[in-house]
Symmetry: C2
Subunit: 511 residues, 2 copies
C-alpha cells in the first residue's frame, strides 16, 4: 500500500483532473470514471489513516465495482425479472438456489485464465472458500452431489468477479446472472433448440428491439482449425483469438494468431476465409461440400448438428432471428457442442446494423458435471445465461428518455385528516382497510397539514385519498378524493370498503 | 491445520461414532450432527491432500453451515416470501438492495462481541471487505451515503455469520433476513406501532398458530437498572444477562449477574422482582406508581412511551397478541427505544403455552445512521426483522406431516405423441401453445413411449395432455386428456387453443 503522503498527493492530482473535466463540460461517463478513481484513492487514504490512528471518519461508499439499488431501480429490476421468470416457467423450469460461496476447490480449474478474478474469503480457520464466479459450476456441483441425472432448472442470483469493470458501461464486480439449463441425456439438439427459443421469447417479451442470435458449434470450430492446419494443442487459444472478432477487425486477430499464438500466415489466412462466413442452412450445405471440411470428421459432425438444430429452429419459428456464424467462438473452455450468443442490433435508420453487444449466450457443456463425480459419470447439459445487467441498463435508459415516473410503492389509498385531533379515527380506518387487504398508508405525524398530505399523494402517484373531517364524521360519511382528477365525493362510512373495492379494481384494470 | 495422518485418525474415530449411533438407532438429528463433523474432517483431509499433491478428488459438499435449496424448498420459500412481501407492500414499503459485502470499516464497531463472527474477504489487493452480518447496518450506511432522511423500505437478502450453527435446529451460517424499516423523524410511537402491526399481519397470513409479541423499552430497562443500583457502565452487559431469561431460569441469570458481572446479591434481587413482571397497560400504570421507578426520569419516559404504544396497538387491534414483558432485552447494542420480539407458542393442549422460540423481532435505533454521517446527523429508525428461516423450517415440517406433494413446475399442458415420427408435429404444436402463453413441455426424445409420457404427467401433476396420433391428425383433431380423471376427448385442431384456454382457466380457479 502507498503511504499517506503519497496518496494525498494522488488525491490532489486526481481532484484537479476531475475539476478540469467538469470545467470542460466533458461527457458524464468520463467525469464519472475519474470521480470513481478519486473515491478509490480517498478510501485508500482512509484505510491508511485507520491503520495508523484507529477508527475514524471514512469515505462512505460501496465496495469498488458494486452498487446499491434504489427503489426505482428495484422496480425496473423486478419487472424485468418477472418477465424472464415467466418465460422460464412457460418452459417448465424449476428453480434452485446454492450458497454464495463454495469450497475453493470446487471452482479450481474451471475458468482457465479467469481464475485470477475469483474472490477468495479470508482463511479464518476451517474451510477455504471463494465467492461463486458463475452459476454454471455450482449447478454442476449440485447435480453431481445430489446424483441428479435430469432436471430443467433456472437460477437467478448474484455472482462475483474481481474484474476491472467499466461501471459506466454497465459492468460490475457484483452482478446478476440469470440462467436456464437443461440437464439430461436426450436426443440430439432438442433441448438445444429450446434454449434458443427461450432466448427469443425473453428478448421479445422485454421488447428489446431487433437482435440476432448467432449460432456455431465447437466441433465445427475444432474441425475447421484442424483442417486449416492448427495443431490441436492450440485449438483453445486460437478459439479465444477468434472470439475477439466481434470487437476487432480480422487483420488484428490475424496478427495475434501469427505474432502471439505462433501460426503461420498461411494457416491464419485459411482460418480467415472461414470465420468471415455466415448465413443460414444454405451455408451448412455449402460447407458440407467444402473440400477441406468435408474430409474432417469433427467438422462434418458439427455441420450435421447445425443442420439439425436449424431444422428444429424452423419448427420453433426462431429462424428469422438466427444466424449461423463461423466467427462465434465463446470464451469459456467447458463448451463441447453448440454455442450461441444474442446481440442487440442498434439503430438501423442509417441502413446499417450496429451491434451494441452481447445480451445472452450459452451452449452445450457435456463434461462439466463429470469433473465433480467421483466416478466421472457425465450428465450432458445445455443452457443459456441472460445478460440481465445489460437489460437493466437498457431499461433504465429507456425510462429516462421517456421521463416516465416509476412508482416505487403500490399504495392504493391514503388516509388523510382535514383537521387536528382525528388521529384515532385515522388509525382505526387504516386498520380496517389493511384488514380488507387494501394497500394503505397515512401520515406518521399526529396533526399533519391537509395540503402536505394531498401533495404526498400526488408526488407518490397514490390514486385515491380518504379524507376524514369533523363535519363528515358527524354526518357519518368520508370524503373520497380521486387524486388525479381532484374530484371529491362523499361516501357513507359503512360503504367505504365496498366503494373502494370498485374504485381500486378500476385502477388495477387500467394497463 | 492438522497434518494428514492426524486427520485420518480423527476420521476413523468419527466414523466409529457415527456407526455406533446408527447401530443404536439414535435420533436423526444426533446422527446428522456427527455426520456433519465427519464430512468436515474429510474436507480438511482433502484440502491437506490438495496442498501436498495438487488437485484431486475432494468431498463434494457445500461449505459448513450452508445448504442448497432444492426445487421443492424453493417453492415453499417463494410462497412464504410472497406473503411477507405482500404485507410489506400493503404498508407502502419500497425495496432496496445493497452489495453482499461492505468495506470492513462499515461493519466495525456495530456488533460488539459478535464482530468475531463476521466473514472477511481475503486481501487480494485493494479494499478490505467483509460479508454483511445483517441488513440493518447496510441500510444505515445507505441512508447516510445518499442523505435520505425518510423512507419506508423492505429488504430480503442473505446475511452471513461464522457461527457454530446447529443445522438440525434450522440455524445456518448463510441465511435469509427479511427486514422492514421506517426511517424518519415522526411523532412518537406511530411508526413503532405499525411495525408491531406488520409482525401481526405476517404471522397471521402465514398461519403460524398462536404467538405472543413481547414489548419492552430500552429507556425503561436502563431506568430500572439505575433504580436498582446498577452502575451505568454495566447497563449493556446486564441487559445481555437479562436477555437470557427466555432460555434460562432466573436463578442462573442471577448467578451470572453476581459471579460474572459483579453485581451484589441485593441489586440482582431488586432486578429480579422487576424482570419477572409482564402484563398489559395495567402493568404500565402500576409501574408508574412504583416507588423506585417513578423517581427515575429514564424509567418514566420509557413507561410513558409504552403507554402510548399500547394505546396505538389498541387502535390497530394488535393488543390481543401483545405482552408488555420486562424480561425482554434483545441482544443488539444499537437499540434506543421500543424493542419487540414475537415468539410462537407451542402445543397448548396440555394447558401450558410452550414457547418454541423467537420468530420476529426488532426495535428502534435512532443513533445508527449518525455513526455513518460525517456531521453525525441522525435519522431516527424503527424496524422489524422476520425470522424467515424458522418460518421456512416450520412450513417444511408442516408439509412433510400432511405429505402433500409440492409441484415444482407450473406446466399446464404436456404435448405427447402416440406413435413414432410425430416429432415435427409435436414441436410445432408446442410452439403454437408457447406463443399463446401456455406453460408447455414435451419429451426431449424423438420417439418416446406413450406410457412414459403419460406417467411423467401424473408424476409431475401436469393437469392436461394433448396426444398427437396419426389417425387423429388425418381427422384434423387432437386428443385432450384430463390427467387426473384420465378422460380423453377429441378437439378439433383449429379449436385447441380456445378449448385449452377454458380448461386451464378452470384449473387455475381451483384454489
Amino acid at each position: 500500500m502507498l503511504d499517506k503522503v503519497k496518496i494525498e498527493e494522488l488525491i490532489k492530482e486526481q481532484g484537479d483532473i476531475v475539476r478540469q473535466l467538469k470545467a470542460a463540460k466533458e461527457s458524464k461517463e468520463k467525469v464519472a470514471e475519474e470521480v470513481a478513481k478519486l473515491l478509490d484513492l480517498k478510501a485508500q487514504l482512509s484505510n491508511e489513516e485507520q491503520a495508523t490512528n484507529g477508527p475514524q471518519k471514512f469515505t462512505l461508499k460501496t465496495p469498488k465495482g458494486t452498487r446499491d439499488y434504489s427503489p426505482q431501480q428495484m422496480v425496473i429490476r423486478q419487472k424485468v425479472l418477472d418477465k424472464v421468470v415467466s418465460v422460464f416457467k412457460r418452459h417448465g423450469a424449476e428453480s434452485i438456489d446454492t450458497p454464495i460461496f463454495e469450497l475453493k476447490e470446487v471452482l479450481t480449474g474451471k475458468y482457465g485464465e479467469d481464475s485470477k478474478l475469483i474472490y477468495d474469503l479470508k482463511d479464518q480457520g476451517g474451510e477455504i472458500l471463494s465467492l461463486r464466479y458463475d452459476l454454471t459450476v455450482p449447478f454442476a456441483r449440485y447435480l453431481a452431489m445430489n446424483k441428479i441425472t435430469n432436471i430443467k432448472r433456472y437460477h437467478i442470483a448474484k455472482v462475483y468477479r474481481r474484474d476491472n469493470p467499466s461501471i459506466t458501461r454497465g459492468r460490475y464486480r457484483e452482478f446478476y446472472q440469470c440462467d436456464f439449463d437443461i440437464a439430461g441425456a436426450y436426443d440430439p439438439m432438442i433441448p438445444d433448440a429450446e434454449c434458443v427459443k427461450v432466448i427469443q421469447e425473453i428478448l421479445d417479451s422485454l421488447d428489446m428491439g431487433s437482435y440476432t442470435i448467432k449460432l456455431n458449434h465447437r466441433l465445427l470450430l475444432d474441425g475447421m482449425f484442424e483442417a486449416c492446419g492448427v495443431p490441436s494443442s492450440k485449438f483453445r487459444s486460437i478459439c479465444s483469438a477468434v472470439d475477439k472478432l466481434d470487437k476487432s477487425p480480422w487483420e488484428e486477430v490475424k496478427k495475434e494468431m501469427i505474432d502471439e499464438k505462433g501460426l503461420s500466415e498461411e494457416v491464419a489466412d485459411r482460418i480467415g476465409t472461414y470465420v468471415r462466413l455466415n448465413g443460414k442452412s444454405e451455408l451448412v450445405e455449402q460447407l458440407l461440400k467444402d473440400e477441406k471440411l468435408s474430409k474432417n470428421k469433427s467438422a462434418v459432425e458439427g455441420l450435421e448438428a447445425m443442420k439439425l438444430v436449424l431444422k428444429y429452429c424452423d419448427f420453433y419459428e426462431t429462424s428469422s432471428n438466427i444466424l449461423f456464424d463461423l466467427s462465434l467462438a465463446r470464451g469459456l473452455d467447458y463448451y463441447t457442442g453448440i454455442i450461441y450468443e444474442a446481440v442487440l442490433l442498434g439503430d438501423t435508420t442509417n441502413g446499417e446494423d450496429v451491434s451494441v453487444g452481447s445480451i445472452a449466450g450459452g451452449g452445450r457443456y457435456d463434461n462439466l458435471v463429470g469433473m465433480f463425480d467421483p466416478k466421472k459419470k457425465q450428465v450432458p447439459c445445455v443452457g443459456v445465461s441472460i445478460g440481465i445487467e445489460r437489460i437493466f441498463s437498457v431499461m433504465e435508459a429507456k425510462l429516462a428518455t421517456i421521463k416516465e415516473k416509476v412508482r416505487t410503492t403500490e399504495i392504493e389509498v391514503y388516509v388523510a385528516s382535514a383537521q387536528k385531533n382525528l388521529f384515532e379515527e385515522r388509525m382505526k380506518l387504516c386498520n380496517e382497510l389493511w384488514k380488507n387487504g387494501f394497500k394503505v398508508e397515512h401520515s406518521y405525524k399526529r396533526n399533519p397539514k391537509l395540503l402536505a398530505q394531498l401533495q404526498h399523494c400526488e408526488d407518490q402517484g397514490i390514486p385515491l385519498a380518504l379524507i376524514l373531517g369533523e363535519s363528515e364524521i358527524q354526518k357519518g360519511v368520508v370524503k373520497m378524493r380521486d387524486v388525479i382528477s381532484r374530484v371529491e365525493t362523499e361516501v357513507e362510512r359503512s360503504k367505504v370498503i365496498e366503494e373502494l373495492q370498485k374504485r381500486v379494481a378500476q385502477f388495477n384494470n387500467v394497463p
